[in-house]
């Protein structure tokens, strides 16, 4: 018999930490937990032992849909040839300011 039963540690959660007020939450890693509340406390204990965060989001890992890394070239292709979306595409006459 195996020592640890399959699923004994709960499910996998993705952890996002906001390090300071006003900035976006950033992916920090994962925890295992049986429910959201436990996932939050586990994430606090694992990822914010040195005041690394002021807010934590947890989400079950199986609910995340990700774009496929290999097809990323084709997936992001529509944006590739649109240089006119950047300010540097446009010429401004010499001496004209605040543009």
């Amino acid at each position: 018999m195996s020592h640890v039963k399959e699923g004994a540690h709960g499910i996998l959660w993705e952890v996002f930490i906001q390090s300071k007020p006003g900035i976006p939450h950033k992916h920090a890693g994962n925890v295992h937990a049986h429910d959201a509340e436990q996932a939050l406390t586990n994430a606090r204990d694992v990822y914010t032992r040195r005041m690394e965060g002021v807010s934590i989001w947890v989400i079950p890992a199986n609910l995340v849909t990700a774009s496929a890394g290999e097809d990323s070239d084709a997936f992001f292709d529509p944006a590739e040839d649109k240089v006119y979306r950047h300010p540097t595409f446009y010429t401004v006459p010499e001496g004209v300011k605040y543009l």
Binding site: S2, H3, V4, K5, E6, G7, A8, H9, G10, I11, L12, G29, N30, V31, H32, A33, H34, D35, A36, E37, Q38, D45, V46, Y47, R49, R50, P60, N62, L63, A66, A68, G69, E70
Partner: protein, 315 residues
């Protein structure tokens, strides 16, 4: 795409310094090597808590006790980061842990040595974490995204471990003759295991060629070991301690410290399960899983009862 073509493209990505992410195509051997390395690394972090945990209740002061407690807690976190990283390769945490508890997985041989005196706690933080930092800083530059990111996080936490260890050793070395002797004795016992812990010499390291081609490891065992020796010898001297190696000498030309022969027979003996504490370490982990089972059961039961956002693996 043909397998050969995929492989070539994969190697190209690695050579150009791109990170490989979990959903990317990767050769089966790459997945295997990483699964093996990351799980061994995870087990090492967890089993490493045992020799140090042995002294938490007997730490000589409150200052030492909170520091050691915090360090051991960090190691638990390191184990968790790494078990998460290995799961991205398509194995479950439960499987990986079972492999270890059933004696089918390796972990760092150094944790099979006993901690006989308080000075051993200093020696571990100074030498074992010291060698680990050098190794992990290298691994942080590796090609697999989740592993390399876990290493970055771990390295940030390690430097306190290293310093708290050295502080213990240094303080003892400046103390009474008995205390100094205790520090020296710990160094005598931990030196060989510490210089062995980054792994066998390059010409006798079965996995190195492959893991280096795929940049899972970006520097060889010999390079890492030498860096550790070069940094550590002057630290020992600063504390007034002697490295237990009468052939140790500084090579002015190369700028490196050269050691006498390293006892690789001892290394392989311990790796193969015959170190002083191998059996005890596994048994302690099995007991911990068994004795902690009720906590997991209670957490599962509570979650079920609350009916709150309870999600299953099969969702």
């Amino acid at each position: 795409m043909e397998e050969q073509e995929k492989l070539a493209r994969f190697q190209e990505r690695i050579d150009s310094g791109q990170k490989i992410e979990p959903k990317d195509w990767m050769p089966e051997r790459y997945r295997k090597q990483l699964t093996r390395m990351i799980s061994q690394h995870a087990h090492s972090e967890i089993v490493g808590m045992l020799p140090e945990g042995n002294w938490i209740t007997r730490a000589p002061s409150l200052r030492r006790k909170v520091a050691l407690l915090a360090k051991v807690q960090d190691e638990a976190g390191h184990g968790l980061y790494l078990y998460s990283a290995v799961e991205t390769l398509g194995v479950t945490r439960e499987d990986v842990i079972n492999e270890y508890l059933e004696g089918r997985a390796k972990y760092s041989s150094i944790f099979n040595y006993p901690t006989l005196t308080w000075a051993d706690i200093g020696a571990i933080g100074w030498l074992v974490d010291g060698a680990a930092i050098i190794n992990q800083t290298m691994l942080a530059r590796g090609s697999y995204g989740p592993y390399s990111r876990a290493m970055v996080r771990i390295c940030k936490e390690e430097s306190f471990h290293n310093r708290q260890g050295y502080e213990i050793i240094y303080t003892l070395a400046q103390g009474t003759p008995e205390q100094k002797q205790m520090a020296q004795d710990a160094l005598n016992r931990w030196w060989q295991p510490a210089i062995q812990m980054v792994g066998p010499p390059d010409d006798n390291s079965p996995n190195s060629a492959e893991t280096m081609r795929w940049q899972i490891k970006v520097e060889s065992n010999d390079v890492i070991r030498q860096r550790f020796i070069d940094r550590t010898v002057p630290q020992a001297h600063a504390a007034g301690l002697t490295i237990p190696d009468d052939q140790l000498k500084f090579n002015e030309e190369t700028g490196h410290w050269e050691t006498g022969p390293i006892d690789w027979d001892e290394f392989w003996r311990v790796v193969k399960g015959n170190g002083p504490c191998n059996r005890q370490r596994i048994q302690d982990r099995i007991n911990a899983e068994r004795e902690g089972q009720w906590v997991l059961d209670a957490a599962a039961a509570y979650a079920k009862k609350q009916g709150k956002k309870q999600l299953t693996l099969t969702e």
